[in-house]
């Protein structure tokens, strides 16, 4: 059976992820797989001993010491994870979803998703996670990596769920947004909802022609489409349109540029996910 993956870490975004997942599951009839990963963060060191001296059987001793340390931590994390998943199950049951499977895995989120994704249709994750209250207005550390690595659409949930009645497609003419349009066209997730098609940036005849072409394509699928072309930077144009048009969901292509460019210039995708207050459906 087709299913979607709801990623949870029990943070304040978790209830919203559950609600978004329940919404998507109800609309598409997909089953829900709730995923909680126990990331031991082996790349981080918990203790450090700066004595720089190594004694008898240094590597074996050190291995045992590290295992002992991580053992206790991991056990607590596992129990906490079980509680989180039980809570998720309650959420979904009360939302009337019966096809739920909970999954607890060891490892980093991105790698775990890479293993599970091929069999699923949609990944749902919160904009922020465990450290949500630490630096407000930033994007969760995992979200960006998940979006970048993902081969399936990713729905990034906002802090709270609001029924989705109208959505906006940020149309930049790129290949990922074309995939987004195809998904909207063929998938029952957004079927029947009014759509606002927005083109921002440099507007010329070609751009408007493509915009209308896409709108017609969507109208064929029974969508009620309004179009808008604004010669403003995408970030400001999209933010403004979301407010003006009372948009509940932003659909866009993700990360058109290389990580190096992003490292230097920043990326539209990251900015949009961070600043807009609505959930974002991303396509690679």
């Amino acid at each position: 059976m087709l299913h979607l993956i709801a990623c949870t870490d029990g943070s304040i975004y978790a209830p919203s992820v559950y609600s978004h997942s329940a919404w998507a599951a109800t609309r598409t009839g997909m089953a829900v797989k709730v995923l909680h990963v126990l990331d031991p963060h082996r790349e981080r060191a918990y203790v450090s001993d700066l004595s720089g001296a190594i004694g008898f059987d240094a590597s074996t001793e050190l291995t045992e010491e590290l295992v002992k340390l991580e053992e206790a931590k991991a056990r607590v994390a596992r129990l906490k994870g079980e509680a989180i998943l039980a809570d998720a199950k309650r959420h979904f049951s009360s939302a009337g979803i019966s096809e739920i499977e909970t999954l607890q895995r060891h490892g980093a989120l991105v790698e775990t998703l890479a293993e599970l994704e091929p069999a699923s249709e949609l990944v749902i994750i919160g904009k922020r996670g465990e450290h949500a209250d630490f630096a407000k207005g930033h994007l969760g550390s995992q979200v960006q990596r998940v979006i970048r690595a993902s081969v399936k659409p990713v729905l990034v949930a906002a802090r709270s769920f609001r029924p989705i009645e109208r959505f906006l497609i940020a149309y930049d003419g790129g290949p990922s947004v074309t995939r987004a349009v195809e998904f909207v066209f063929s998938n029952p997730l957004l079927r029947g909802l009014p759509c606002h098609l927005l083109r921002a940036g440099r507007i010329d005849d070609k751009a408007t022609w493509y915009l209308e072409e896409t709108a017609d394509r969507l109208r064929e699928g029974g969508f009620e489409v309004t179009t808008q072309a604004v010669s403003e930077p995408p970030e400001t144009a999209i933010t403004a349109a979301i407010i003006e048009q009372a948009i509940d969901l932003l659909v866009m292509g993700a990360y058109g540029h290389s990580p190096i460019r992003q490292f230097i210039l920043g990326s539209t995708t990251t900015t949009m996910v961070r600043t807009c207050a609505v959930p974002v459906l991303m396509f690679r």
């Binding site: 790349e43 981080r44 060191a45 001993d49 720089g52 001296a53 190594i54 059987d57 590597s59």
Partner: protein, 515 residues
């Protein structure tokens, strides 16, 4: 470089990596100097090498958090080259070593590490520790009360200080204390400055000054091959140890490539060849180092300290360095392997001891590992060869009008049934070069029979030796006038093809094990 794990590899453990990098850099100074002395070159050659190798492997290595620099195992292989031809030829050998290692990385030779058994690794590690210790002996032989007292004092500080505080590296404290004592009391001990020149600037790019002829290649080639092999082996083993300690994976082939680039760069900047260091990598992990940043900073801090503190480094008394190296040797040695000698199977212990012994005698880790791998393969073959059983059963051919009878000893001797006697040999198990003699011995060619059936449905023929042996058995029977029938040859020889075809038939392995 900008892979998915880029941030994770570099910046996920900032505090730990920075502190560990500092601790490791401090520990690298005495080691780099000591290993230069082993190789017979100026300390600056080892120090430049350590800087270059650490920095380059930080970027290109396959095991974040592993420390690579100038090492004792490599230094030991260079001794004759340096003695007979000088430093410039060592630099060329280093460049060539890098090229070989890069090729090994691109050819993905790292996968052969699986043939190196645990016992060989233990033997290797022990041999390495012994070699590091032996290299300190000449310095101890200089003798005198002052030397022994300083070594003992340094060791006391190194091992006892961590019981009081773990925020300062105790080897560093030992070195500082001993340096101060040596200066104040004007002790007559050898200083680092007596052993050759130290770096006074950043390393500069220079092409080795040797004639680029075939003659040069002939001189450096054997050394480069040895260096490349030892460097890769020690790096892979260290990577494996770090993998185990931190429970994170590494990429052996990327590591080979990284080591190759590192040695190439080291050769261009006047450094000697190096590889990963077990002792330093343990220190790094222990100090909280996990990411690539720790390796990079170890190299950078090393160079800063050497260039800035050069005049002070010159004053470090050798006995203090000897003490640090003794600590590294003790920490590298696998003391548990002594305890395990009585517990582990004898063959494992023989492999371990043979590896250690050969390395200590030849001063070449690659030869030792070769011997160890060979021995463990032989022992393994011998063990598997025991999985072979040949059973037989005598059957009477139905004689027209006669009564049918089963194989019973009485009938075996009875004269009238002999002409119709048929023996069925059932072969079960693994047939290959090591078990083929035993296989042939199981047949009784002296028995007079009219027909022999050999059922090999439940046997596996692994090589041509096995096939040849079966041929031999068949011919021998035929020579006696016995009719021979072979049953199940197709199933038995499925294993002969190099790949078992497991990949295209999902149940191939089950079928193989079942019959």
């Amino acid at each position: 470089m900008f892979s998915r794990n880029f941030t994770q590899d570099w910046f996920s453990n900032l505090r730990g990596d920075v502190l560990a990098g500092l601790v490791v850099a401090l520990a690298l100074i005495p080691e780099a100097i000591a290993f230069s002395i082993i190789a017979g070159v100026d300390p600056k050659v080892g120090l430049y090498a350590s800087f270059c190798i650490a920095v380059v492997t930080a970027f290109f290595g396959g095991r974040p958090g592993m420390i690579s620099a100038a090492t004792g195992a490599m230094a030991l292989l260079m001794v004759t080259l340096v003695k007979e031809h000088g430093l410039q030829y060592l630099l060329v050998a280093t460049l060539l070593t890098g090229v070989f290692q890069m090729i090994a990385g691109l050819a993905r030779i790292g996968d052969v590490m699986r043939f190196v058994s645990k016992s060989v690794m233990t033997g290797f590690v022990n041999a390495l520790a012994i070699l590091i210790f032996l290299a300190q002996v000449p310095e101890l032989k200089v003798g005198g009360f002052a030397v022994y007292a300083m070594v003992a004092g340094s060791l006391a500080i190194i091992y006892l200080l961590p019981r009081l505080t773990r925020v300062v590296p105790s080897p560093l404290v030992a070195i500082i204390v001993m340096t101060v004592i040596a200066i104040i009391f004007k002790l007559d001990v050898r200083r680092v400055g007596d052993l050759g020149s130290l770096p006074d600037s950043l390393p500069v790019f220079l092409w080795p000054q040797v004639p680029l002829t075939l003659e040069t290649l002939k001189i450096v080639l054997p050394y480069s091959i040895g260096l490349a092999a030892v460097g890769l082996l020690e790096s892979w083993m260290t990577a494996q140890i770090v993998d185990e300690m931190t429970d994170t994976p590494s990429d052996k082939n990327r590591e080979s490539l990284g080591q190759g680039i590192a040695n190439f760069v080291a050769g261009l900047f006047g450094g000697m060849a190096g590889c990963a260091m077990i002792g330093q990598s343990v220190i790094n992990v222990k100090s909280g180092g996990r990411g690539r940043l720790s390796t990079l900073l170890a190299g950078v801090f090393l160079l800063i300290m050497i260039v800035a503190l050069g005049p002070w480094v010159k004053q470090i008394p050798m006995p203090a360095l000897v003490a640090v190296m003794i600590m590294v040797s003790i920490g590298t040695f696998s003391w548990a392997s002594f305890k395990n000698l009585s517990k582990h199977p004898k063959t494992s212990s023989i492999v371990m001891l043979a590896t250690t012994l050969v390395v200590v005698l030849t001063h070449n880790l690659a030869i030792g590992v070769g011997v160890g791998v060979l021995l463990s393969s032989i022992f393994f073959a011998r063990k598997v060869a025991q999985i072979l059983r040949v059973t037989s059963e005598l059957k009477m051919q139905p004689v027209p009008g006669g009564n049918k009878s089963k194989s019973k000893q009485k009938q075996e001797i009875s004269a009238n049934s002999r002409s119709q006697s048929c023996r069925i040999y059932t072969v079960t198990g693994q047939l290959f070069f090591a078990s083929s003699d035993a296989f042939v011995r199981e047949f009784d060619f002296k028995e007079v029979l009219s027909k022999v059936s050999i059922d090999v449905t439940h046997a596996h023929f692994w090589d041509l030796t096995a096939v040849a042996c079966l041929d031999k058995v068949v011919l021998k029977f035929r020579r006696e006038g016995t009719e021979v029938e072979l049953i199940g040859l197709n199933e038995a020889s499925a294993t002969l093809v190099d790949r078992l075809g497991v990949h295209d038939k999902p149940d191939a392995l089950e079928r193989l094990l079942a019959h």
